[in-house]
């Protein structure tokens, strides 16, 4: 099989994943898109490993490594998304803007602190 099929497929997968990361609003779909991008990279690694006839099969080894890391990453990522959803009732990336620089929007943490200060007084 010619290398170009695998490379084109990987590029397409990567672009689909990139589009998903940049455009989807649901955090779970964003994570899934990240998985797509990772797998595009895995595909490239395996294809080039075969094409270069690497005696040590470094590409395959690295792919296994990436799969393991991706599994751990998706585990933690889904757990975070779950907690965010439980706390806020939404997993919409567009609405998770607490770290943004916006003076008009009241900071929920600060409001909490002020409430505590008032209670203490």
């Amino acid at each position: 099989m010619h290398l170009v099929y695998a490379a084109v497929l990987a590029a397409l997968l990567f672009c689909v994943g990139l589009y998903g990361v940049l455009a989807r609003r649901n955090a779970i779909l964003v994570l899934m898109s990240v998985e797509l991008m990772l797998n595009a990279v895995n595909l490239n690694l395996v294809a080039f490993d075969v094409w270069l006839r690497d005696t040590l099969h470094a590409g395959q080894a690295l792919t296994l490594f990436t799969i393991a890391i991706a599994a751990a990453e998706i585990g933690i990522g889904l757990a975070i998304v779950l907690q965010v959803y439980r706390n806020r009732g939404t997993a919409d990336v567009d609405r998770l803007r607490d770290l943004g620089e916006d003076a008009h929007r009241p900071d929920p943490d600060r409001a909490d602190r002020e409430e505590k200060a008032e209670a203490a007084a």
Partner: protein, 663 residues
């Protein structure tokens, strides 16, 4: 004990007393009074012992090298001659009297411990100045006196007048001290030593390169310290301090230090005829001007302050005609009778509850209320007016006799012009002095009107001190026949011509003032005036502090009072208005120094605020604006960040490819 050891103890004891007083003042209140009085008393006794042992013989010198400076060495040197030991006796006795007086005068003052310690420190510094044989060591004492004066003038710092007076005293004397320091350095550079003996040897052999310049530089410091025109303006204002301080520092001793210094360094001044003439003019202006100003003052202590300025003018005049014996004789007799007058004035201020002569002239029987002060002050004022046979007559005659001697041109190296200037001004001042002394006596003791507020009997310590000082005031004149042995040997006894002239003028002054008073005294009843601070139970200083604080509000100024019954106003006529303010010299200083300083301060403030700070603000403002712009990018949306990251990566990748292909 050898004379040297005794002489070292004289300045050392009050210094130790001051240190102990400052350290123990709060912890052991009972020890404060003994610590104040006893070291000073011991120093006075030892000063008498030193004077006795020295006995007017050959000067006694002892020294130890204080520090090798690499160029001109500084020695801890004693120089005991007739002048030094006698002035030290005066300082010791007056300081003891003042310390005793203060124990009663500032009885309940919470700041008494520090006050007494500062007076002791001052006494120690003055004795150091008197005994020192090294100009640098003398300068240390000189400056310590200055700072003690500053603290003590500001003793009533709750009142505004005292605060500004202490600052003024400090700044004006420092204005003179800067040229003085330069003069000392110039002298030492020529002589190669700070020792006064070495400097005098150089001066006599003509080794000083610019005698006129050096003498004038030194004269500036002396004018500041001894309150000579044009640097005398601080002394009348310094009367905002407690009366004992005025008596010790601003009448008897510190202000005499300048005169004493010229007496020590007279050959340096005598090397330049121009400097002597300048000194004579300065003395003449000081004498006549201060006597005129004294005629117009309302505050009893300011009258005495101006009279101090005038009497110091006599001493400077005597030095200008090259007779240091007469100058120091007048210094000693003036120290005694002026201390007496000030301490008496403190008693009067307490008994009358006011320091205003206008208010006193509207009180009945003040003299009967304070008989001790009345009698001693009467003699003190007679001495001030130079009426024979009291001490002031003999010492002033010594000055006038020296001036007359100089006019004939007999005196070696003394310009006759200086003699004439001093003689004429001295005779004129004798008339004026008798006038203001009489005015003070009549207004203070012979008022008519309501009874004075009752303050009980004056404390024994205050009255006893007056009688102690009464003795030299009355009898020191007899020393005129004995003192030449202690001094340079020139005659100090009165000469016939000047005696007749000056006594005649003094009597004329008394008579004219009495006649004027007879005419104006009737107005007193018609124009009620005066504010009295009555504190029957309180210590005497309370009345004084209150009366200083209220004088401006009650009489419209710290110096004068709008009193038509004042004989001085009748005699001075249109001059009175100018004499009250010391002939507007303060206004001149305001134009020359105060306003330029303020303008410079405003300019510096403008430059600092508008120029220097503009850069500082700009340096802070520009990053802040940049930061605000960058913060806009922080939307909080992760996808936006990632888009920017992607765009950046693409740009970098394209750039890398372009570079790699060499396009």
């Amino acid at each position: 004990m050898s004379t040297t050891t005794t002489a070292v103890l004289v300045p050392l004891l009050p210094f130790l007393g001051a240190a102990a007083g400052l350290l123990l003042g709060r912890r052991a209140p009972g020890a404060v009074r003994p610590l104040a009085v006893l070291p000073t008393l011991a120093a006075a006794v030892l000063a008498v012992v030193v004077a006795w042992q020295q006995g007017g013989e050959k000067p006694l010198d002892a020294s130890t090298r204080l520090t090798p400076t690499g160029s001109v060495p500084i020695d801890l040197a004693l120089h005991l001659d007739g002048f030094a030991v006698l002035v030290a006796v005066l300082v010791g006795i007056v300081a003891t009297c003042v310390q005793l007086y203060s124990t009663a005068y500032l009885r309940d003052d919470p700041r008494y411990p520090s006050y007494a310690a500062l007076v002791s420190l001052f006494t120690s510094a003055m004795l150091l100045v008197v005994y020192s044989g090294d100009l640098m060591v003398l300068l240390v004492g000189w400056e310590v006196m200055g700072i003690c004066s500053y603290f003590l003038v500001g003793h009533y710092w709750e009142t505004r007048a005292a605060r500004s007076a202490s600052l003024k005293a400090f700044l004006v004397t420092k204005l003179g001290d800067v040229p003085f320091l330069i003069g000392v350095f110039a002298l030492a550079a020529d002589a190669g030593t700070f020792r006064i003996n070495g400097i005098l040897t150089t001066a006599v052999s003509g080794g000083i390169e610019h005698p006129t310049l050096v003498a004038l530089l030194l004269l500036a410091g002396v004018a500041g310290k001894s309150a000579q025109f044009p640097l005398h303006t601080w002394l009348p204002d310094a009367m905002a301090g407690p009366t004992p301080v005025s008596a010790l520092i601003h009448a008897a001793t510190m202000v005499a230090a300048g005169v004493y210094l010229i007496a020590r360094l007279l050959p340096v001044f005598a090397a330049s005829a121009a400097a002597l003439v300048v000194m004579a003019v300065m003395a003449a202006v000081t004498m006549a001007g201060s006597a005129l100003a004294a005629l117009a003052q309302d505050d009893i202590k300011r009258v005495l302050a101006y009279s101090t300025v005038g009497q110091l003018g006599y001493m400077t005049g005597a030095l200008a005609v090259g007779d240091r014996g007469a100058a120091v004789f007048h210094l000693i007799s003036h120290g005694a009778f002026k201390a007496l007058l000030f301490l008496g004035a403190g008693v009067i201020i307490h008994a009358a509850g006011t320091n205003s002569l206008a208010a006193m002239s509207r009180m009945n029987h003040l003299a009967k209320r304070v008989p001790d002060a009345y009698w001693t002050m009467t003699v003190g004022l007679l001495a001030l007016a130079a009426i024979p046979p009291f001490s002031g007559f003999f010492s002033k005659e010594a000055v006038l006799g020296a001036a007359e001697h100089a006019t004939t041109g007999d005196a070696h190296g003394i310009p006759a012009a200086a003699g004439w200037i001093v003689l004429v001004a001295g005779l004129l001042t004798a008339l004026l002095t008798a006038g203001y002394a009489t005015r003070l006596w009549l207004l203070a003791f012979h008022g008519k009107g309501a009874e004075a507020a009752g303050h009980g009997r004056e404390p024994l310590a205050m009255n006893a001190v007056l009688w102690v000082l009464f003795l030299p005031t009355a009898a020191l004149g007899l020393a005129a026949w004995k003192l030449p042995d202690w001094f340079d040997g020139g005659s100090l006894t009165p000469t016939l011509t000047t005696s007749v002239l000056s006594t005649g003028l003094a009597l004329a002054g008394v008579i004219v003032m009495y006649a004027a008073w007879r005419r104006t005294a009737a107005y007193a009843a018609r124009t009620p005036l005066g504010a009295v601070a009555a504190d029957p139970g309180a210590a005497p200083y309370v009345s004084e502090e209150e009366t200083i604080a209220t004088h401006e509000a009650a009489y419209g100024g710290i110096a004068g009072a709008p009193d038509p019954a004042d004989p001085g106003r009748l005699l001075l006529g249109p001059l009175h208005r100018h004499a009250v303010g010391g002939f507007h010299l303060d206004a001149v200083y305001s134009v020359l120094f105060v306003r330029p300083t303020r303008a410079a301060a405003r300019l510096a403030r403008f430059l600092d605020r508008e120029v220097v700070e503009a850069y500082v603000r700009g340096a802070g403002g520009a990053p802040r604006l940049l930061g605000a712009a960058v913060r806009r990018a922080q939307t909080g949306n992760v996808q936006t960040y990632l888009s920017a990251l992607l765009a950046g990566s693409v740009v970098l990748a394209v750039a890398a490819v372009l570079v790699a292909t060499g396009a």
